[in-house]
């Protein structure tokens, strides 16, 4: 039985950057989703633009939800790719990355909560 107190077992060789990029990107995707939900509530023009189902044929009958989620997922994937390449060989503070993620996700949660985003309706 190999003792885990021996630090030669499973030595750490991977920087935290790529992992930090993954969680911060999830936070960015969450915030962008919240912003899209609020934007659609605030502006009829934005709501119409976000109807990707009708404007671009991405689904039938989905309405503005199609644009909100497509924009959010694109923001998630693009930000993940950018952060990954920026941080891939670097040590990024896990606590700071996590704090940023929690703030972003918290804002995303809040902005998808109807009593909050309906406040923005004109």
């Amino acid at each position: 039985m190999t003792d885990l107190n021996d630090m030669d077992v499973f030595p750490t060789t991977k920087p935290s950057g790529p992992a930090a990029a993954a969680i911060v990107a999830a936070g960015i995707g969450s915030l962008v989703l919240g912003l899209m939900v609020s934007l659609a509530e605030f502006s009829a023009g934005a709501k119409s633009f976000l109807d990707f189902a009708k404007n671009y044929g991405l689904g039938s009958g989905v309405g503005p939800l199609s644009g909100k989620v497509i924009v959010a997922v694109l923001a998630y994937l693009v930000s993940w790719a950018i952060l990954y390449f920026m941080w891939r060989g670097k040590e990024i503070s896990v606590s700071k990355a996590f704090l940023a993620t929690i703030v972003l996700v918290g804002l995303g949660f809040a902005l998808t909560f109807p009593p909050i985003f309906t406040l923005l309706a004109p």
């Binding site: 060789t13 919240g34 939800l65 993620t101």
Partner: protein
Amino acid sequence: MQLSDRELWAVIHGLILGTGFLLAFAGGLVGLWSLRAKYLTAEGVRERLPRLGLWTGLMATIAWLTVFTGTWIVYPWYRDPAPTSARSILLADEHTAQWHEFGMEWKEHVAWLAPMLATAVAFVILYYGVQLIRHNEWRRPLLILFTLAFAAAGVAGLMGAFITKAAPVL
């Protein structure tokens, strides 16, 4: 005894994928919770980490499948402008309108946070592999983000169950 296409998709979306999501969350949560070097041997880590990656990867995959089927298959039936659609039925009665105005409006959006968060957690676990046992600084963030993914899906699932009870997609 038969199901219409719509009922079948509602079952796939809410019941089959939902059950898989719950199982994968339970497996991942137990694995993350007990991921402490003082509890494990090297053999235990080699045995556990791949399974933890499997559970969390499965939860992320199921979360994506659930939001895609929900948004692009079931939701258009729900919001059909016809007076017989679930949305029209809910909005026609002031006693049930809140199921749409609060319940569905929250559910359709918050659900999309779950796959992004679950994917991030699965990625970190798969990225580090067995080395994760040396990175205790990740254990709590992963537990919290994994639980937030579950909470987002839980809100959506709960609202979906109540809404389906009030006005099923038929």
